[in-house]
């Protein structure tokens, strides 16, 4: 079986590999949680790449209904066609629009299905998908047909923890919590994304980054994706590593901090810290 392993572009810890492979083998959905910016969505892309399967993405919004993933009955066009006397109106299946789940079920080969940010939707959303994800089939009332998956898709679900998910739903999933990477893993991740980065710059940047994360009162701690953005900026600006060395976050705000600090209160906090430490030095 082609398993999922860390790739050049995506560093997966061993526990994540085990969780993904277990979910794939046992054909159960994998629920992934973790701090924003730790690569939950990217995981689905990487799994698809590793298994050599096409990916279907279903991004959930607060207004998304479970039904929309299955199919929608387009009553408006039918009404219009009916008033215009169109022939199509007699066959109701002309007005059934397929959703992402149906797409994945009906596909010729196995797909990876990403259900992104499931916690954004209404609290009933996961409950409405229980049977569909368990048996990988559903019933279309309008045409009285049952859609059964030809190949059970690999389902990856991400959540930002804004809502609690129902127990019955959780019971059907495998679960993985992406921990924030430690320094060593982070170095690998940086290497994977910027193979030609200057070693010294990467080291100094990581120092600053972990110092910033160490400041307790931050509203939004920078995560992996912020670090990568910041490094990219540093490389484009071609800043010498020495600039970073002097910028202990307690003394000065790091250069190009806009990529790391996303909250003006956090920026203020750093300004205040810098101000205080300057006073102390005097």
């Amino acid at each position: 079986m082609a398993g999922f392993r860390s790739t050049e572009n995506y560093i997966a810890s061993r526990d994540l590999e085990v969780a993904v492979n277990a979910a794939v083998t046992l054909q159960r959905p994998l629920l992934v949680k973790g701090e924003p910016g730790t690569g939950k969505t990217v995981l689905a892309h990487e799994v698809a790449k590793a298994l050599g399967l096409p990916l279907i993405e279903w991004h959930i919004k607060s207004t998304t209904k479970a039904q929309q993933g299955l199919y929608e009955y387009d009553a408006v066009s039918r009404l219009r066609d009916g008033q215009l006397g169109d022939e199509r109106v007699h066959d109701i299946s002309n007005y059934i629009v397929r959703g992402k789940l149906w797409e994945a079920f009906a596909a010729e080969r196995q797909h990876v299905l990403l259900i992104d940010e499931i916690d954004k939707a209404d609290i009933e959303f996961p409950n409405d998908l229980l049977l569909e994800l368990d048996r990988m089939q559903f019933f279309v009332y309008e045409t009285k047909e049952t859609v059964v998956a030809r190949h059970r898709p690999v389902v990856i679900i991400t959540s930002n923890n804004e809502k609690e998910l129902p127990d019955a739903f959780l019971r059907r999933c495998f679960f993985h919590y992406i921990r924030f990477p430690d320094r060593e893993t982070m170095e690998q991740i940086v290497q994977a994304h910027f193979p030609d980065i200057k070693q010294e710059l990467a080291r100094e940047a990581l120092n600053v980054f972990f110092q910033i994360r160490g400041v307790g009162e931050l509203k939004k701690k920078p995560a992996t994706s912020e670090l990568l953005d910041w490094l990219k900026l540093l490389m484009i600006e071609d800043l010498p590593p020495e600039v970073l060395r002097s910028s202990d976050p307690k003394v000065a705000i790091p250069p190009l901090h806009g990529a790391l600090l996303k909250n003006e209160q956090d920026v203020h906090l750093f300004e205040r810290l810098a101000f205080l430490s300057r006073q102390r030095q005097r």
Binding site: D15, N21, A23, T25, L31, K33, L79, F175, Y177, K219
Partner: protein, 396 residues
């Protein structure tokens, strides 16, 4: 063997079910994980734990079941970090102190005060370093040193159990912060408070329900049939009463976090401050207290019984402040605090008290017991679990 493991997990409060157990067994049969204990740990964690708050508990149970570790009640040092058992510290100090020294401690603010400081010190030290062992009170400035309490050789809060040489993954217990009985951060509180939010449709039908209109128009063979729905309201109204000043200073930061989280959650949210116990006057702005004072009766008149009242305070004070007229530390109060508490809890149909003090220590402070009585036991610790219990209580 494994059934035993599942039972241990369930005893620890992790809701692992038969379905998940079978999934784990199937996973092992299919050879998903390699034949080593690390992979088995990863696999069983993915299959059995569905909530990051349970990961820490899982690690502990796993360690106990598969390593024959002692349960934390024994001499497990993790318990010390987690709960700082005051009994033990007390005994420790008792053993080391002479009678005169104990008297000196009493003069300097009493034993509880001392314990409080020791506890704070522990918390600080844990915050500064991660892992490793810590030593308490080696400096000459600490009150413990001054009073002859010499804890050298007493190792408190060793992060890893010292019974083992190599540290295994589950012993690192990296998910400790996510356990719902310890962590109190803005984000987590927000999560728990969301429980309070209850959307309900009420009031007059004012919004056009477009999908329903289209559906019924289609059903009506094309002749227009308008459908209306009531506008969506967030019906949860909350009054927040925050204890400020005095014994509460340690907890002001915590309450502020709760407050900032709460502010974003409710449309109708009012907050009032009190000191130790609510009396006839409350205030809305602590900096300009005198100008922002409102009479408590006014608050009772203005806000209907459908508001949910949440008190945040450590409820640690002299019992006189609750039961005695004139017992307040700040002013002469005609009526005891208990009368005002009874008025507030009697007026608002749902009320609860959040206490930032660790629940284990509630029994030791007399006033906490009094307030609990007044609240009819609706006092909850300021932890994620406590807040969840509170919101359940409030929204019942």
């Amino acid at each position: 063997m494994l059934a035993h493991f599942i039972l241990a997990l369930r005893n620890a409060g992790i809701p692992a079910s038969i379905t998940e157990y079978l999934a784990l067994l199937r996973g092992m049969k299919e050879g998903v994980a390699d034949y080593n204990v690390d992979d088995f740990y990863h696999l069983s964690r993915a299959a059995l734990v569905k909530d990051e708050r349970h990961l820490d508990r899982f690690d502990r149970v796993f360690g106990e079941v598969f390593k024959g570790l002692e349960a934390p009640e024994g001499e497990g040092f993790e318990t010390l970090v987690r709960q700082l058992p005051e009994e033990w510290l007390r005994k420790m100090a008792e053993k080391l102190l002479t009678e005169e020294e104990k008297a000196a401690i009493q003069a300097a603010g009493g034993f509880d005060k001392l314990m409080e400081m020791l506890k704070q010190r522990l918390a600080e030290q844990k915050g500064r370093h991660q892992g490793g062992s810590k030593w308490i009170g080696t400096g000459g400035t600490s009150p413990f040193g001054a009073h002859g309490y010499n804890p050298e050789g007493v190792r408190i809060g060793q992060e890893e159990s010292r019974h083992r040489r190599a540290v295994k993954v589950w012993d690192k217990r990296e998910f400790r912060d996510l356990d719902d009985s310890v962590e109190i951060g803005t984000r987590n509180i927000k999560l728990a408070l969301r429980r309070l939010r209850r959307f309900a449709r009420q009031g007059a039908a004012t919004e056009l329900d477009l999908p329903d209109t289209i559906r019924s128009t289609a059903n009506n063979a094309g002749s227009l049939d308008l459908k209306m729905v009531p506008e969506r309201h967030n019906t949860v109204k909350v009054l927040l009463f925050l204890d400020i000043g005095g014994s509460m200073d340690d907890w002001v930061k915590l309450s502020e976090e709760l407050f900032s989280a709460a502010r974003a959650e409710f449309k109708h949210l009012e907050h009032f401050y009190f000191h130790n116990c609510p009396y006839e006057r409350l205030w809305t702005n602590n900096r300009r207290r005198r100008e922002s004072e409102v009479s408590t009766l006014e608050v009772l008149r203005k806000y209907g019984p459908d508001y949910k009242a949440v008190f945040v305070g450590d409820a640690s004070m002299s019992p006189y402040e609750i039961v005695q007229p004139g017992g307040s530390v700040e002013h002469w109060n005609e009526e005891p605090g208990s009368a005002w508490m009874a008025r507030l809890t009697g007026h608002f149909r749902r009320s609860a008290w959040l206490n930032p003090m660790p629940q284990a220590g509630w029994g030791r402070t007399h006033s906490i017991g009094l307030v609990r009585q007044l609240m009819e036991d609706r006092m909850f610790p300021l932890t994620l679990g406590g807040i969840e219990a509170m919101t359940r209580e409030l929204s019942r």
